[in-house]
Symmetry: C2
Subunit: 193 residues, 2 copies
Amino acid sequence: MRNKILEQAIRLFGSSGFEGTSIQTIADAVGIKKPSLLYHFNSKAKLRDEVYKHLFDHWKSELPKLLATTSEDPFGSFIKALVEYFQDDPNRSKIAVREMLDRPEFVRKVISEELRPWVKLVSDYIRMGKQSGVVVEDIDPESYIILVIMMVIGTVAVGDVLSSLVVQENIDTDKVIIEELKRIGRKALFKKS
Amino acid sequence: MRNKILEQAIRLFGSSGFEGTSIQTIADAVGIKKPSLLYHFNSKAKLRDEVYKHLFDHWKSELPKLLATTSEDPFGSFIKALVEYFQDDPNRSKIAVREMLDRPEFVRKVISEELRPWVKLVSDYIRMGKQSGVVVEDIDPESYIILVIMMVIGTVAVGDVLSSLVVQENIDTDKVIIEELKRIGRKALFKKS
DNA sequence: CCTACCGATCGGTAGG
DNA sequence: CCTACCGATCGGTAGG
């Protein structure tokens, strides 16, 4: 039951936002009464925290594995894992973006404590590539990483909306945007690509 | 008075979202009573529409001018204008992102009708550069444009949050991210840069 | 997990 | 532009 509630909360918080979703609506979607929902999660705020935690925990366990893997194309495999996770349920990136807008201080604190060491690892790795001559010299590793993450999350969260700047119907526009994202990322990172 | 209401609505919709902002809160911020606000804007939905229209109208008038200007660095001047507009009041990009999440169908319709011709112009321009040999061959112009816009809006809307992936205090992180954004954009667009 | 109920706040109207 | 007021819905509790 608890998981069924979390599932519907993720879906509804993603499409309508936290303030735009009442616990009544979530309870209806699950098929229970409001007080029953509040038995599992003591308050709406508590439910939000657990939704957030649920989505975040994936990366706390997955990132170490991902960055430890040796691959002949570390860039490609990292982007692929990032895209796959968010594309698997677009509500994940929608919630991520919404949280950054709704609770900037909270998100800042969390990613600063939990994710920064890993970003440091990647930026050091880029700096090494710079010294060994495979990475372009004028890159700013930290900004580069932030912008790539921004493109990935942005594409999955609102890419279908922005793609109407370009085409009427949009089946699979995501795929071609992701391909271009990889091309841009590579071109801006490597000397030869 | 009407403008004072719009001003506060933009500020509050930006920071707390449409559903997260009551007309009471807006009225308080302006210093009038709720029914007085509803005299100027008949309903909350109507107020949202006018806020949206107010922000959008800028581009309907500015884009033609911007794209008609001949410059020795069209890329640089375009990015600069885009960044300056959004940075002038970060609530603009926050509202843009929020609208894409909250009302995807509506935003899709609006940008499809109003902005698509201009994006077509830019993508044709990129294609010309491709033929004349100054632009890289493997670019997908439409996806490229979408991703650049995504980076700009993303940087202004949530760049300060994501920058905590990298630094503790963030004064002027925006500026260095925007510089890296331009570098990435150029590198992925031009053969020589 | 439910019924019954709470005060507070929501968007909005009547009427001046 | 205000006072006074509306029904509906909000998050949440008591009690079984």
